[in-house]
Structure formats: structure tokens, C-alpha cells
Point group: none
DNA sequence: CGCGGGTGTTCCGTTTACGGAACGATGGCA
DNA sequence: TGCCATCGTTCCGTAAACGGAACACCCGCG
């Protein structure tokens, strides 16, 4: 399960430094605005420290970005053709929802084994032409279009137009 | 004792606890899987500690969710009846997309002035019964349902069932 | 040349997040 | 009923993240 997740903390430092210098802000000034010691920031950017949630929050606020922007590591699920980034997990009463961003290279296709009973998938297309759904009855949708299907049977995804498909995919897992 | 952990930290604890119990996992088991001490997790969930990035990373991995899912904070847009949290902004080729999470209290309703021409809105309902769309031709959708409408005319949102509406709203702005 | 104000790094004492162990509470099971 | 496993919390010594100060360095300016 551990997979080859590169140590998340290692990426935060360079990202802070990049965001900071992109705004033309000095380390000293960021420390002042964030109410942190310069030693803290120096170590954080160098990756020699393991920052606290409070510290990260202060830095993000002083940089004017969301905390997510500092720690976001795209947990990418890379399939044969489909790449999905998990954006968010909702936990709403009778069901759990996972919201993904999906990319499919032009012309590529992929099938997926069935999930548990009652699971449905909902896709909203940003760009390209998506064909998706049950293998024997797929639907198609272009930019702005929407598709939904039950995922408890074998289903597939394909970019049938001449360009890459970008879409958001919502997977609903009932209790 | 006062602790008084600033903002962000306060929300992480309950979220971890919610995600953990949603999977039917005990605190002890999560501690074991994450390679953390039970004291660390107990304090984290209670909000009496200020966790380290490493700790958060371990917890997220053991829960099988992205680190973002633990620390994400929302930029909320609060209307008369509708509360929307901006989740993500996409900038894909010919259009820009804003992905929101939308909540409407049971029985509440709200109208929205027109946006620019060509703007469309796409809603996927998680819970409750949503009535939304052009004022003269709204549609309705329940859990798992989908609605879309053009936003360049006056439009509205309403929770018509007896319970709150939870939905994801995608707004598409063509160039 | 100083000199003052800026940079980022390093040192150091204090604070605190960490894991391990002990704790009381709870829940089967014989 | 006792027994034992597991639950989540609390206590405590250690490791380390924290802020402040000292540091070397680099500029613009008189």
C-alpha cells in the first residue's frame, strides 16, 4: 500500500520558496508577516524541519494562498489510459463521495472492473469528447456535457474526439 | 489548557475522527497502521495538539485519503440561502471551470442574477431534493441526480424536500 | 572607505509534539 | 461470575520544532 509516495514533506519546502520568490518577497519579510521566526522558515524551505500545522497555516496565510496549495500532492491514480487526481472526499450521511479530476489522452480508452453494488459515477466534461458508461451502453458527452452510469457492472472510459478529455468524475458509494 | 489552536488545526481533528469512524476503524488500529502513538492520535483528534506535517501525512496515508482531504479549508461564499465552498478552479483551454460544493437549508430558496453569455451551471446532488435552473423552467433532482442550465438568464436554487440539499456545482465560463 | 539596513543561515534555550507504558472502561465469552 | 482483549485517555521522558539573537554577507549611500 505504501506505494512509492515521495515524502510529502520534502515537497513543501521548495514550494514555499517558489511561491515566496514569485511574489518578490524576502524570507525575512515572510517571517515577519507570518509571525514566525526566520529560523523556522529557513529550515522549512530547506526541508530540514518537519513543520507544524500551525506553522504551515501561518505561512499559507502570509503568502495569500490556501493551505492546500502548500501540501497538495496529486495522489494520481494512473490507469492504462485514464489519469485521475483525487480532489476531495465527502462524507454526507447516507453516502460517501469521491471527487476526481480525470484526464484521458486523445484516442485512448480503458475499462474498469465493477465496484460494489449501488456505486454510481457522474462525469462532467470540461474538454474533449468523452465516451463512458456500461460497456454495452456507453454515452457520449462534449464540453459542458454530463454522463452518469452505474459502476457495479464493467464500465469504460474513452476519449473519442481528436483531443484529450478533461472531466470531473464523482463516484458515489452508498452505505 | 486554553490551547486555543488557531483556525486550521481545530478542523483537522474532527475530520480525522469522522473519516476514521466512517471506515469503522478504531483509534488504536489507525495508530498501528500509521505507525504513530495512540497518544498522538488521541490528542490530534481532540484538537489539543498541533500535529506535524509528517504526522498528518502518515494519518492521511493510513486513512487512504489525500493529505488535502484533511487540511482543506474552504473559501465560503454565503448567499441568502445558498452556501458555496470553492473547491477548485480549472483553466482548461477554451473555458474556465469553478467547482463548488453547495449547501441549501431545507425549504430555503435563492435567486441569482444572470452571468455572462454562454455560462452554464452543472449540479450533481448528494442529498436532499434540489430545484434549480432558469426561473421559468427549473428542474428537480434528488440524491445522485443531475441538473444543468444556462446561467445567462436569471436563475435560482431551492431545497424543496424536507431536508438540506448538498450538491456539487460546476460553473463553466467560456472564453 | 565606514555605515546602516537589508539579506539568509546558524546557534541556543524554551516549549511542546512525539512514542511507550500504564490506566480505567467496555465488551464478548466460557 | 471471572477472564482477557481491546477500546480511548492520561502520564512521562525524550527528541525536536519553535522564537530570539548573533552571525556573515551584500548592497546603496554619504
Amino acid at each position: 500500500m505504501d506505494a512509492a509516495l515521495p515524502d510529502g514533506a520534502a515537497h513543501v519546502g521548495p514550494r514555499v520558496r517558489a511561491l515566496r520568490s514569485a511574489q518578490g518577497m524576502s524570507l525575512s519579510e515572510l517571517a515577519r508577516r507570518a509571525g514566525l521566526g526566520k529560523a523556522t522558515l529557513s529550515g522549512l524551505e530547506a526541508g530540514t524541519r518537519n513543520p507544524t500545522l500551525d506553522t504551515l497555516h501561518s505561512v499559507a496565510a502570509a503568502l495569500g494562498v490556501a493551505l492546500t496549495a502548500l501540501v497538495s500532492e496529486s495522489t494520481r491514480i494512473q490507469g492504462a489510459a485514464v489519469a485521475m487526481d483525487l480532489l476531495r472526499v465527502f462524507d454526507d450521511g447516507p453516502a460517501t463521495y469521491e471527487l476526481y479530476r480525470m484526464r484521458i489522452p486523445a484516442g485512448a480508452a480503458q475499462t474498469s472492473p465493477p465496484h460494489h453494488a449501488g456505486v454510481t459515477e457522474h462525469a462532467t466534461v470540461f474538454a474533449g469528447e468523452l465516451r463512458a458508461g456500461a460497456l454495452d451502453a456507453p454515452g457520449t458527452a462534449g464540453p459542458g456535457g454530463y454522463l452518469e452510469w452505474t459502476a457495479d457492472t464493467p464500465h469504460g472510459y474513452a476519449a473519442i474526439g481528436g483531443q484529450d478529455v478533461h472531466a470531473s468524475l464523482l463516484i458515489r458509494y452508498p452505505r
